[in-house]
């Protein structure tokens, strides 16, 4: 499949942007600058980027606890996102959401949900709305493998299938749900088979190969726009870090962790782009430098922003 140069460069840049963002957030967390919990998506970048490269700004996504990558790929600026994670007034949600609940309809993100499974029915609702309003928008729910066993996944996907909604359920299968392996949590050995229970296509792709992700989603979007209904896509990927920052993930073998580091989607994509003549080494380095600069700015913005005033506790609700 041919992808235009412009888009490929955006994809590369966006993958690097996610990686830099996540690693820096990890550092800041370790330095005690970030309250609460953060769940980083380093290593999984090809998934959100391969997905969102197929979406317009007015298409919809829902996200989960490991959502930074989804939001960045959908276009949320790093500064207001970082400020949000720092709990600052200038954050995209005034500091009320934090890392786990980033929401911005301006980029079509209906919300990042902390209750596993919820992203599915909510995105299905957006897909329903697109169909009822007669637009050609699509909606994508990002979930993890562990979430496949929630009732919400089931009810949402079945509804989308029954109503042939323009919906994609994209599952980042990093094989772990906290410390529980997906293959202990279900009898399936091929996760994408779950789609067969709904009468819709279930596609498995290498989630560390952004081309493979892109192509699968491309087809799914086309199918959605043809009015043929939802697609379930499993991106087989892996987590470079613990479940959340602070998790020593001792439940994973060292071999598995090493393997994951080797499967890094970014050098792989970079190499391919250079081979394709889309990018040169110096250009790639330059992108990285630029993104780091962007992230420096975002961190500066976040650090220098004030916390919200106490009275903010009482706004944004009808009480």
């Amino acid at each position: 499949m041919k992808i235009e140069k412009e888009k490929l460069l955006w994809m590369y840049r966006t993958m690097v942007r996610i990686r830099v963002f996540e690693e820096r957030i990890g550092d800041e967390f370790a330095a005690g600058k970030i309250p609460g919990f953060v769940h980083l998506s380093s290593g999984q970048e090809a998934n959100p980027v391969g997905v969102c490269a197929n979406l317009r700004r007015d298409d919809y996504i829902t996200s989960n606890h490991r959502g930074h990558g989804h939001l960045i790929a959908k276009g949320l600026p790093l500064d207001i996102m970082t400020a949000e994670i720092f709990g600052k007034k200038t954050g995209v949600n005034k500091g009320k959401a934090g890392s786990q609940h980033l929401t911005d309809m301006a980029v079509g993100c209906l919300g990042a949900e902390g209750i596993q499974g919820t992203p599915v029915p909510v995105a299905v609702g957006a897909a329903l709305s697109a169909k009822l309003r007669g637009t050609d928008q699509v909606a994508v729910a990002f979930i993890g493998d562990g979430t496949l066993n929630t009732g919400r996944f089931h009810e949402g996907l079945n509804l989308a299938a029954a109503w042939k909604l323009p919906f994609i359920c994209y599952c980042e299968n990093n094989t772990w749900a906290e410390s529980t392996n997906i293959y202990d949590a279900t009898a399936l050995t091929d996760i994408s088979q779950r789609a067969m229970g709904y009468g819709i296509p279930g596609i498995a792709v290498d989630g560390n190969d952004v081309f493979a992700v892109y192509e699968a989603v491309y087809e799914a979007v086309a199918r959605a726009k043809r009015g043929e209904g939802p697609t379930f896509i499993e991106g087989r990927t892996c987590r470079r870090r613990g479940h959340f920052e602070g998790d020593s993930h001792l439940y994973r073998g060292q071999e598995e962790k090493d393997e994951c580091l080797k499967r890094d989607p970014i050098p792989r994509f970079r190499k391919k782009l250079i081979e394709m003549g889309i990018l040169t080494e110096p250009e790639a380095d330059k992108i990285e430098r630029e993104i780091k600069g962007e992230m420096d700015e975002a961190l500066k913005f976040a650090e220098e922003s004030p916390f919200p005033e106490p009275e903010e506790v009482y706004t944004d609700e009808f009480v």
Binding site: Y60, T62, G91, V92, N93, K94, G95, K96, A97, H101, T103, D104, M105, L110, G111, E113, G114, I115, G117, T118, V120, P121, V122, A123, V124, G125, A126, A127, L128, S129, A130, L132, R133, A139, G151, R152, E155, G156, N158, L159, A162, W163, T315, D316, E317, F318, V319
Partner: protein
Amino acid sequence: MREITYLQAIHEAVDEEMSRDEKVFVFGEDVRQWGAPLGELKGLFEKYGPNRVLDTPISETAMIGAAIGSAATGMRPIVHIMFAEFLTVCWSDIFNAMCKPRYMSGGKIMFPVTIMSYCGAGISAAGEHSGCLDGMEMSIPGLKIVAPSTPYDAKGLIKSAIREDNPVQVFYHKNLILSGLKGEVPEKEYTIPLGKADVKREGSDVTVVATMLMTHRALAAAEKLKAKGIDIEVIDPRSLAPIDKETIFKSLKKTGKLVIMVEEPKTGSSASEIAAVVAEEAFDLLKAPIKRVCAPDTAIPFTPALEKVWMPDEDKLIKAVTEIM
């Protein structure tokens, strides 16, 4: 003025709002052919077609999700979650996914969703199809709740609920539908603001706050009490969240005595919340203990022989009122 039934009032409210605003649509289990199990939505499918009236699978979490997602993107969904107990099936979806995001997002998103559900005992529908969950739902921040007791209130409140930009739960009582309750409802359009109580009967001795079916029982008890020389004021809050404290306090200025009668197990009921508000904010007006006339803290028994005992009734109210006279 013309009289219509409680059921017709519900129907008219939804019908009028659907014709007024094409973003309004309704979905639920069995709304299309049945027009919902008790028929309050009958005819809407024929009138508005398959894009505005949709039958869903038995998937309450998906239904609330569909309501949230469509509400966030320009629609105004009405979702019919049949029996109040079924709300507990999608409790997280209501509590976490529907009612928190407006606040959590710093005002970046809003969900104009109306949920409609049947509640109430008295027809031997047994332990899982007879409950009122008002008090339990009042524990959910970000949710408005209305519970009309008359055709007039039902129509006016449901219309307001559909126009409201926050999520609203509408409860209606099975008994008030099935008994064919009639009441005056103007031909002319009207709405009733959410959060405004109604004094259903003026009185000077004791303030009785009662909702839905209990409002009617309180009014019936009022007549009997009158014969005993006790004059009760009956206030129907109509909206449980937000609740109209002022109307209750105003009445207490007159009476100094409060009985709250609701059809829920006493602990954690809407009566408890109302009692707490009064004990906190209007203590000085009180001349006697606040009585709660509620059901016992059990499931609802099937057999009419016990269901009748389980439900609060006129006698229990009369006893409570008399005790504080």
